[in-house]
């Protein structure tokens, strides 16, 4: 056990991976000598030399070369500094990485890991604020996860890099410098997939992922003081997604809310609700989705705060959900 922040946990995972998998490479803009704009890749260049390096501001070349190197047996771990910047090179992820195994009938694979981070932070502009997980979840052939704790930041990355398919690990910059927590950094890590029951409850199931998990947990504690017992399920893996656990919980509580920072339309919350509905789970009230409304993101914090869901909004909407329908 080591006491680590979320950012330090990512760093520890990278060190372990470089150590135990000689085929790994770590590269991206400012990740080598400077150690990353958030300090997350610190020390790798010093310790592993040429296997950790800086690149030009060329996302297509970063991602495309990672696909090619992965096809030839390396395990590249590349960083796209903001998820928003992946959009200038989406071809290499969607048309290229995701197709390698399928089209070659399994003769080729592309075991690359793309680390990125996303979401709004106070003052961030519209091009540095988007939550794009649903875009990638629409693409068969990719694995996608979004850690919210230091332990998961560590485990998910280790699992991702060991995975033989392309994996997108979506971190969150507002978490990098958070509280230190004890992290298991030796031995096996949690396997791919699964849900984390962050709070057990009996009145309503709240499914969430990413940084929003912390808002939801805060809301759940406040709801408990008002007599609403919420079960909080975090699903750090979105592909593969643990549908079973969600269905079991929703069936037990009879109410379902899905909370994500991404905007609502076409968000992964829609998929979660559809899977529960499709499984025929009887609910006492129609399920709800809580997310950012369908709008661009304004830079001014007063404007952004009116859009991005927070604990207060989760409390209000979940309370309304628990009062809706038959008791």
């Amino acid at each position: 056990m080591r006491d680590l922040t979320y950012g330090e946990a990512v760093n520890a995972a990278l060190h372990r991976l470089m150590e135990e998998l000689p085929e790994t490479l770590v590269y991206g803009e400012d990740v080598g000598v400077p150690g990353g704009v958030f300090g997350v890749t610190r020390g790798l260049r010093k310790q592993y030399g040429e296997r950790a390096f800086d690149t030009p501001i060329s996302e297509s070349a970063i991602l495309g070369s990672a696909v090619g190197a992965a096809m030839m047996g390396r395990r590249p771990i590349v960083e796209i500094m903001w998820a928003d910047f992946s959009l200038v090179a989406l071809d290499q992820i969607v048309n290229q990485a995701a197709n390698v195994r399928y089209v070659s009938g399994g003769r080729l694979t592309a075991p690359l890991t793309i680390r990125t981070q996303q979401g709004n932070a106070p003052g961030a502009c519209a091009q540095h604020s988007q939550c794009l997980e649903a875009l990638f979840l629409h693409v068969p052939g990719l694995r996608v996860c979004m850690p919210s704790t230091p332990q998961d930041a560590y485990d998910l990355l280790v699992t991702a890099v060991h995975c033989d398919d392309p994996v997108l690990v979506v971190e969150n910059r507002t978490l990098y410098f958070g509280r230190k927590e004890p992290v298991r950094t030796d031995g096996p890590v949690q396997p791919m997939g699964g849900a984390r029951t962050r709070r057990a409850g009996s009145d309503v199931t709240v499914v969430t992922w990413g940084a929003m998990t912390h808002q939801v947990l805060e809301a759940a504690e406040a709801l408990a003081r008002e007599g609403v017992d919420a079960e909080v399920l975090e699903t750090p893996w979105l592909n593969p997604f643990d549908t079973e656990t969600v269905i079991e919980s929703a069936g037990r509580t009879g109410r379902l809310a899905v909370v994500h920072e991404a905007n609502v339309t076409g968000g992964f919350g829609a998929e979660v609700v559809a899977r529960v509905a499709g499984a025929g789970v009887p609910l006492a009230a129609p399920p709800i989705r809580i997310g950012t409304p369908d709008v661009r993101m304004p830079a001014a914090p007063v404007l952004a705060q009116a859009l991005v869901p927070d604990a207060a909004r989760v409390i209000e909407e979940v309370k309304r959900l628990t009062k809706a329908g038959a008791p």
Binding site: D30, C125, Q127, V302
Partner: protein, 315 residues
């Protein structure tokens, strides 16, 4: 001659005073989030913008405060934008890295590296059909030269002889990484030859040199001669963004940068030409007073109204 140089000095001081005020406001709290200052790079916008017509279109980057000011956007609504005031040029929607002021021919900052270059091609293309024959100026950094969109834009403009001036502000760093480590051929202007267009590496710390070359490029563009690439050599006196620890600097580097930065250099030249120091000090004082007043006025204005946050999404 010294009159124009005095005007350049004032224009550069306005930008620097604006940026220093922004730095203070960021430290004190009214400005929140990521801010990229152009301190040390003022001569490029000052030299370039005077040559533009009102109908020309300018596309800048997140390091664009100086370009907006040089293009004639008043300081007060810019400060207001950075502070999230309703009176900001975009009512707080754009912020430091992504505001636009089309009324002033400032067609926006952009915080996606290289994204402005193809858009500038489109602005030039439109001018061919709307009769304006506007020239589009696309500003970006040295690092952006390695972005696919910039290559595509240069070839696109070259193939169709579009009136675009590509202004590359080479400040030697892309964020925390020296550009010299990320290219094999360090003279970025030389890439112009591959597109079949003129390319010049020029002294970007001399507003007069920038003016001369931009005027030339505009003339070529207006006569149908197509695009030009200008690589303006400069250096930032500050970090990539506010909060950058600048650990990548070499010993003594900043001292050297300070000696050749555009304001110090112009001041030295004017002193040598016999302009009294008191006159030069007065220029600085005037610029600082203007910016202090603009910032104070913006600070007193009401914040953006959250009830408007969903407006302007569709027609």
């Amino acid at each position: 001659m010294s009159e124009r140089r005095l005007a350049d000095l004032l224009a550069m001081w306005r930008i620097r005073a604006f940026e220093e005020k922004v730095r203070d406001l960021r430290a004190e709290g009214p400005i929140v989030g990521s801010v990229h200052l152009c301190i040390g790079q003022e001569a490029i916008p000052v030299g370039a913008c005077g040559e533009l017509e009102p109908h020309d279109a300018l596309f800048a980057t997140y390091r664009g405060h100086g370009w907006a000011l040089a293009r004639g956007v008043p300081a007060r609504p810019l400060f207001a934008e950075l502070m999230g005031r309703a009176s900001g040029v975009n009512g707080g929607r754009g912020g430091s890295a992504y505001f636009t002021a089309a009324d002033h021919g400032f067609h926006g900052e952009n915080s996606i590296v290289g994204a402005g270059a193809p858009i500038a091609c489109g602005a030039a293309l439109a001018g061919r059909f709307d009769g304006s024959h506007r020239v589009a100026v696309s500003v970006f950094g040295d690092g952006a030269m390695n972005q696919g969109a910039v290559h595509e834009a240069m070839n696109f403009a070259a193939a169709f002889s579009l009136p675009v001036v590509f202004v590359c502000e080479n400040n030697r760093y892309s964020e925390l990484t020296p550009i010299a480590d990320m290219v094999r051929a360090p003279r970025l202007a030389d890439r112009a030859a591959a597109y079949g267009i003129p390319g010049h590496r020029i002294d970007g710390n001399d507003a007069e040199a920038v003016r001369f070359h931009v005027r030339d490029a505009l003339e070529v563009a207006r006569e149908g001669g197509g695009p030009t690439l200008l690589e303006c050599m400069t250096e930032r006196l500050v970090g990539h963004y506010i909060g950058d620890a600048e650990t990548y600097r070499r010993p003594g580097e900043l001292e050297r940068v300070r000696r050749r930065e555009p304001i110090a250099r112009l001041r030295e030249g004017l002193l040598a030409d016999g302009v009294p120091a008191a006159d030069l000090d007065a220029v600085e004082r005037r610029a600082r007073a203007e910016m202090a007043a603009a910032a104070e006025a913006a600070l007193a204005e009401p914040p953006a109204d959250p009830a408007t946050a969903r407006e302007h999404l569709y027609a």
